[in-house]
């Protein structure tokens, strides 16, 4: 019994890492500009589509470089055409604007790159790896793509942490996240900072799109991953990068375990037509956490004054 459960747990944790990759992009933008960026999922789709289509007629490295340029151009366009005109609006208005951007990107990406299912060949080994064969009969099965995703994610978080702590731009970013007005008054250019943040989360989206694309193939449903990243986000706290990682791990492991352990019980008790509780379990889990800690696990405590 322990073997399969452990295997599910590891699989869940690995998927969780992929969720965190998407959630990371959300957190970066929310931290720096207070925008709840619903378009992150569409950005993942757009980045993955660009990469997949470009890599059809050039080497992967070159395609990746071009995709990076495309994502930076996209960040510039979003900043220049949308955000700049919506400075000082309420959070909900900005949220709606990103919903509009999401619609636009989904349409634009598929008009530009086509709407079939595309493959991203990373040249990774596709055979599952077995570990701990001495402890469990048959060993535990691990998907190499997920393993590599986990490593990439860890590296990316490290790089981002160093970037935020050490560099000049990182310090400016943290200042903007703390207080827009104060940051502006000491001479930090807000527009440039926002451009920077959108570009960085565009890159995060590109990496997330690459890993998800390698796992599932690049298709429209990729943009729905944003909906999976949302519970991760509120569980970890909207403003915390470590929160996105820990949240992703908890959600990933939780929903896989729930599907294996809880779903059969539910099906038996309520006479259901199939399980599929993955769709809502993450949300309910996050909701339960939030009832205890309303700002998420690592989110900044909300201090309210009259």
């Amino acid at each position: 019994m322990l073997g399969p459960v452990l295997e599910t747990l590891i699989g869940g944790l690995m998927t969780g890492v992929l969720y965190s990759l998407v959630a990371l992009g959300f957190v970066l933008i929310f931290k720096a500009s207070g925008v709840f960026n619903f378009a992150q999922g569409a950005m993942v789709l757009f980045a993955a589509l660009s990469l997949a289509r470009l890599s059809e007629f050039m080497p992967l490295v070159l395609a990746f470089a071009f995709s990076v340029l495309i994502m930076i151009a996209l960040a510039y366009a979003i900043e220049f055409l949308v955000l700049r005109h919506l400075v000082n609006q309420e959070g909900i208005i900005l949220f709606m604007a990103t919903l509009g951007i999401a619609y636009f990107l989904e349409g634009f990406g598929q008009t530009l790159w086509g709407s079939d299912i595309y493959k991203i060949g990373l040249g990774l080994p596709t055979n599952p790896i077995f570990i701990l064969e001495s402890v469990f009969p048959g060993g535990l099965l691990i998907d190499p793509v997920e393993l590599i995703a986990a490593i990439i994610c860890a590296v990316m978080v490290l790089v981002l942490a160093v970037f935020f702590q050490v560099t000049r731009v990182g310090r400016a970013l943290r200042a903007v996240a703390d207080d827009h007005q104060a940051a502006q008054s000491v001479g930090i250019p807000l527009n440039q900072i926002w451009l920077m943040v959108w570009a960085v989360s565009g890159l995060v989206a590109l990496v997330a799109g690459m890993m998800w694309g390698a796992k599932l193939g690049v298709q429209f449903s990729l943009s729905l991953i944003a909906l999976k990243a949302l519970p991760v986000l509120i569980l970890g706290g909207l403003t915390s990068i470590p929160g996105a990682i820990v949240g992703g791990l908890i959600i990933g492991a939780g929903e896989k375990l729930a599907e294996v352990l809880l779903a059969p019980v539910l099906i038996r008790t309520f006479d259901l037509a199939g399980g599929g509780i993955e769709n809502w379990f993450a949300y309910v889990l996050a909701l339960a956490f939030l009832l205890v800690r309303p700002q998420g696990l690592f989110g900044e405590r909300i201090i309210e004054r009259v």
Binding site: Q89, M96, G100, L227, W280, A286, L290
Partner: protein, 354 residues
């Protein structure tokens, strides 16, 4: 050019508390309702009824519901689709299991069931705020969607998971033609709008708005957040539930849970943002905008004489829709209702603004 309120004095408390204190406003609304109920059936064809008027009216009810919660009470919710589904399936099950029930009661029951579910999912709002709450309400959306797809009892063990309603009749008169459906929906919309108007301008509405503007301050001056937030959730879910039942019974006829997926929630949210948060007029304008724009975009290529594949059209529709929303938010973040108010203010003085 436009009318002014000059010379209309309020001499009684009743006059002071009227919904439309200005005579011209009052008359124009009465004329509008009279036109909608008597004038429209003279010329409207089936297409206008089923594709434009009925969807706009039903979705307006849903938008009013969400506007009460989000626009008046400030609780951002992304679960409207789920509550619409509760209304639809509650109505379906009541009509199925007690076929003798009056159709009005069926819709009321749909509203009440949605209200109960809304109360349940509204409880976290006492602790969770802002975007955290918005995402938390998605939990209700996905859970309810899943429940209606999987629990066989709700769909009466239909193997495909899709359900259909039979004959709908009111006091012996069958509601079978688009014209009759339209009048029925219009009547319900008018009644519910009137009720909502009276709620939001009364004590309860002020309580909601106080919570919206600053919940801590509202709590300090003696408003119970539990009472205010849950009542907003209850009323809002009631409206959304009724809208869901109407949508399922009178617009779709047969449906599956996918008809009330998360995109429906976003659609209703779009309506109130584009129409204007915290205005009832905005709910109608937003619903009309959201229903009419896709119809317009769909027709556009054929008007321009460009041949395109359907996939291409749907992608371009997505693009244009997204771009329009962004453009709209940039041009007027407070929505169509604000545009209307500004226009009215300008017209009051036109053509002699000085």
């Amino acid at each position: 050019m436009f009318y002014r309120e000059v010379g209309q004095f309020k001499t009684s408390y009743d006059a002071d508390e009227a919904i439309f204190p200005i005579a011209q406003d009052r008359w124009s609304v009465i004329v509008l309702i009279a036109f909608a109920s008597l004038g429209v059936p003279l010329f409207a064809g089936q297409y206008l009824y089923t594709e434009v008027l009925i969807p706009v009216l039903i979705l307006s009810i849903a938008a009013i519901g969400l506007n009460i919660l989000t626009g008046y009470c400030g609780q951002l919710s992304l679960g409207s689709g789920g509550f619409m589904a509760v209304g639809a399936y509650a109505a379906y099950n009541l009509a199925l299991r007690l076929p003798e029930t009056n159709i009005i009661l069926v819709f009321l029951f749909a509203g009440v069931m949605a209200m109960l579910v809304g109360l349940l999912f509204g409880l976290p709002s006492l602790r969770i705020k802002g975007f955290y709450l918005a995402v938390a309400t998605l939990a209700s959306q996905f859970f309810l969607e899943w429940a209606f797809a999987r629990v066989k009892w709700f769909t009466n063990y239909a193997p495909s998971g899709s359900v259909a309603v039979g004959r709908i009749e009111l006091f012996g008169i069958p509601i079978d033609t688009p014209g009759k459906t339209y009048i029925f929906v219009l009547a319900i919309t008018v009644v519910l709008t009137l009720a909502a108007k009276n709620l939001v301008r009364g004590r309860i509405g002020r309580m909601w708005m106080a919570i919206r503007d600053m919940d801590i301050a509202a709590e300090i001056i003696g408003i119970r957040p539990l009472h205010a937030k849950l009542s907003a959730f209850a009323v809002s879910s009631f409206y959304i539930g009724v809208a869901g039942a109407l949508w399922a019974f009178l617009r779709l006829g047969s449906w599956e849970p996918l008809a009330f997926d998360v995109n429906r929630s976003f659609q209703v949210l779009f309506m109130i943002i584009i129409g204007g948060l915290g205005t009832l007029l905005g709910s109608f304008l937003g619903a009309a905008f959201i229903v009419l724009v896709p119809i317009f975009l769909n027709q556009l290529p054929s008007w321009l004489g460009i041949a395109m594949s359907t996939a291409m059209i749907s992608h371009i529709e997505f693009m244009l829709f997204g771009a329009m929303i962004v453009l709209f938010l940039i041009a007027e973040p407070h929505g169509l209702a604000r545009l209307w108010a500004i226009g009215k203010e300008k017209l009051r003085l036109w053509p002699f603004p000085y």
